[in-house]
């Protein structure tokens, strides 16, 4: 009996693996096995390159891998397909461990540039501080979008449009009026919020997916306009020579009157990088501070209530249109701040930086982090953006892996990494987090 069962398991596994191998072959035979290319020299004729070995390897790997999984891992008559969620530990991080992570990360972020400088020297640390700036920018964007998607439950696929509005506002204001960064920063936020209201007003009564697709369309419209309004925005060439920020009026330049000479330091380009790091760090913290405070106020509670049940909100006398608009505008405002930071850091912007992919990445950070969870956004941003940059050597395969990772993490943890909601107000001191299974995701 024992032996027979073993046998049938083996047979079933082999059959299943053969099936997977056949599928792999069907997928790969044309798209991998043959590569169409343009011949140089013989006109624009197309020719084929053969890579049958690659196909064979792919098929073999899938067959062997699936067989091994079937026999040693799943050990079942009817092996489940890619069902990672069943294999991985259930539930998110608890409130306690997330507290430790929170303060740990905060402390690390405060000292990071100096640790890196001490460890790697000014030259060696530059690339890592740059990366940290990038991660923090995404953290800030993620926190901004978290207000819209995570708290208010409004699905926004065109968030990058407001990032673009912020960046272009600063670049254009500086270009035409010579305004400084510190003046433009609030203006950029206000302009982005203004656009958020203008775009939000007509569309916010749409439900879920429709709202998503309209916001995507608006994002693309703004990008196309930036791309084609050549006289004003520089079109595809973008805008360059955007002024760098100053440290309370001190430029980060060599020589008299610069930051370095004022403080009696030797000039080094790393000063500006470190300054930018703390600038975005402060901006991100500000975003978080405002959001956390708002969550405990009537408006924040109304956002979350809206996500839970819009009809009940209306029955409680809440003006849902205004409530949605404030969420939309506030999210847009933070994107606008981040955008003007982006412009001043790069010194150059073009529509290419504001594609749909960017919106998708920010949304992915919010969802992977766990909707509505601030610390989740940080972890997701570090994993996604940090991980992404570390794969720089594999330039070609980077985005491919990125896309696949997005799928895998989501399948593994559909509710995101941190999936518990902290109550905004509590009677007892040790109120527990609310499991994400109870929390709604919004319909509008």
């Amino acid at each position: 009996m024992q032996a027979r069962q073993k046998d049938s398991l083996l047979v079933a596994s082999v059959k299943d693996s053969l099936g997977a191998a056949v599928i792999t072959f069907a997928l790969a035979c044309v798209m991998v096995g043959l590569r169409v290319d343009v011949a140089s020299g013989r006109g624009a004729e197309l020719f084929l390159e053969h890579r049958w070995l690659a196909v064979a390897v792919a098929v073999l790997i899938v067959f062997a891998g699936r067989l091994a999984m079937n026999i040693f891992f799943w050990k079942r008559e009817d092996p489940p397909s890619l069902n990672l969620s069943g294999l991985m530990p259930k539930g998110g991080l608890g409130a306690n461990s997330s507290n430790i992570i929170k303060y740990g990360l905060l402390g690390l972020a405060v000292v990071l540039p100096f640790v890196l400088m001490f460890w790697l020297g000014a030259r060696g640390s530059r690339q890592y501080i740059d990366l940290a700036i990038l991660v923090l920018t995404y953290v800030m964007l993620g926190w901004g979008l978290n207000i819209v998607v995570g708290l208010a439950g409004l699905l926004d696929l065109g968030y990058v449009a407001f990032y673009a509005v912020g960046a272009y506002s600063y670049a254009l204001l500086a270009h035409y009026f010579g305004f400084s960064f510190w003046l433009c920063l609030p203006l950029a936020g206000i302009l982005a919020a203004f656009w958020g209201i203008i775009l939000g007003f007509p569309v916010l009564r749409l439900r879920g997916d429709y709202l998503a697709i309209v916001t995507l369309a608006f994002g693309e419209i703004i990008r196309v306009v930036l791309l084609n309004w050549y006289q004003f925005t520089g079109g595809p060439d973008g805008l360059s020579g955007i002024p760098r920020p100053s440290f309370f009026g001190l430029e980060f330049s060599r020589g008299e009157g610069g930051f370095a000479s004022f403080f009696g330091l030797d000039y080094s380009s790393i000063h500006r990088i470190i300054f930018l790091y703390y600038l975005i760090f402060a901006m991100a913290l500000f975003t978080n501070f405002v959001t956390m405070r708002l969550r405990r106020m009537p408006i924040g509670r109304a956002w979350e209530a809206l996500r839970e049940d819009e009809i009940a909100c209306r029955a409680l006398g809440i003006n849902t249109t205004n409530t949605k608009l404030t969420a939309f505008a506030l999210g847009a405002m933070f994107a606008g701040f981040a955008g003007s930071f982006f412009a001043t850091r790069q010194g150059f912007i073009s529509p290419e930086s504001f594609t749909f992919l960017e919106s998708a990445i920010i949304l992915a950070i919010v969802v992977l982090g766990g909707l509505g969870s601030q610390i989740g956004v940080v972890i997701a941003a570090i994993v996604m953006i940090g991980g992404f940059e570390f794969f720089r050597e594999f330039e070609e395969y980077r985005m491919l892996v990125f896309g696949m990772i997005m799928v895998v993490i989501m399948v593994w943890k559909p509710r995101g990494l941190i999936s518990s909601r902290t109550p905004s107000v509590a009677l007892s001191k040790n109120a527990k987090g609310i499991s994400a299974d109870l929390v709604q995701e919004g319909h509008g």
């Binding site: 044309v30 697709i213 196309v224 992915a364």
Partner: protein
Amino acid sequence: MDYFLQQLINGVTLGSIYGLIAIGYTMVYGIIGMINFAHGDIFMVGSFVALILIVALGITAATPVLLLILALALVLVVAMALTAVWGWTVERIAYRPLRGSFRLAPLITAIGASIALQNFVQVSQGAKNKPLQPLFSGSFQLTDGGADGSGFIVNLSYIQILIVVTTVILMGGFTYLINNTNLGRSQRACEQDRKMASLLGVNVDRTISLTFVMGASLASVAGLMFLLYYGVVDFYIGFLAGVKAFTAAVLGGIGSLPGAMLGGLLIGLIETFWSGYFSVEYKDVAAFSILAIVLIFMPEGLLGQPEVEKV
């Protein structure tokens, strides 16, 4: 007037392509209520498969007409089959494990799958444009441009006829399939109430898989048509075509097959007329603005069913 006629012909051709893609969106949305973001990229994969098969079979403009048609039919069938496998795989890996999970998760995996597919093709086929020499160059001249030859010559090319005819045939076939077969019935049952359908013995997973398979194979037809019409593909064509086809599906009323076709035609026409009369640069803006306007004032689309909010 002649110029108008030409734009009309071009618009209908483009609209047919959008319509074929839009059907995939509409069917999937109808049955599992998600935007299959990767569908545009399935279309792109389909056009690559078709291109590779055409090159592999050595089809050129020099091939005798009858043979050319037969070979293209073969390409069509094989491309439909292989692309269907791609569609099936995406569903199996990225969507099925999340069935019944919360709404945003499959949206994110769909975006992930879209990114992965795009970059897979970029890696495996290279980032360069792939131009294909036109296979049919002939056309009917509908007007002669006036006695002095200064007027506008309206062309109806063979390829345009081929595209529209193929689309009409496929549309008819699929409508028949949905309306009159067991599969179509299961599909509609799942649309109404998936749990109940499964309790009544409908194999829900299989029905959904088949929906993806059908959507993907229609997208590959669109891919072939796109290739023959424009004569060039690259790994990025899926995004824009996908968004516009989704626009078409929404415009026509999501969940409705004739709606998808109608929406496709309208988007195709709007885009060509806008390019023809106003500006080529802003043609996408026109299409997206229409989408926004339709959704705001008529969220159920042209042929969709209005949704009542029951309290």
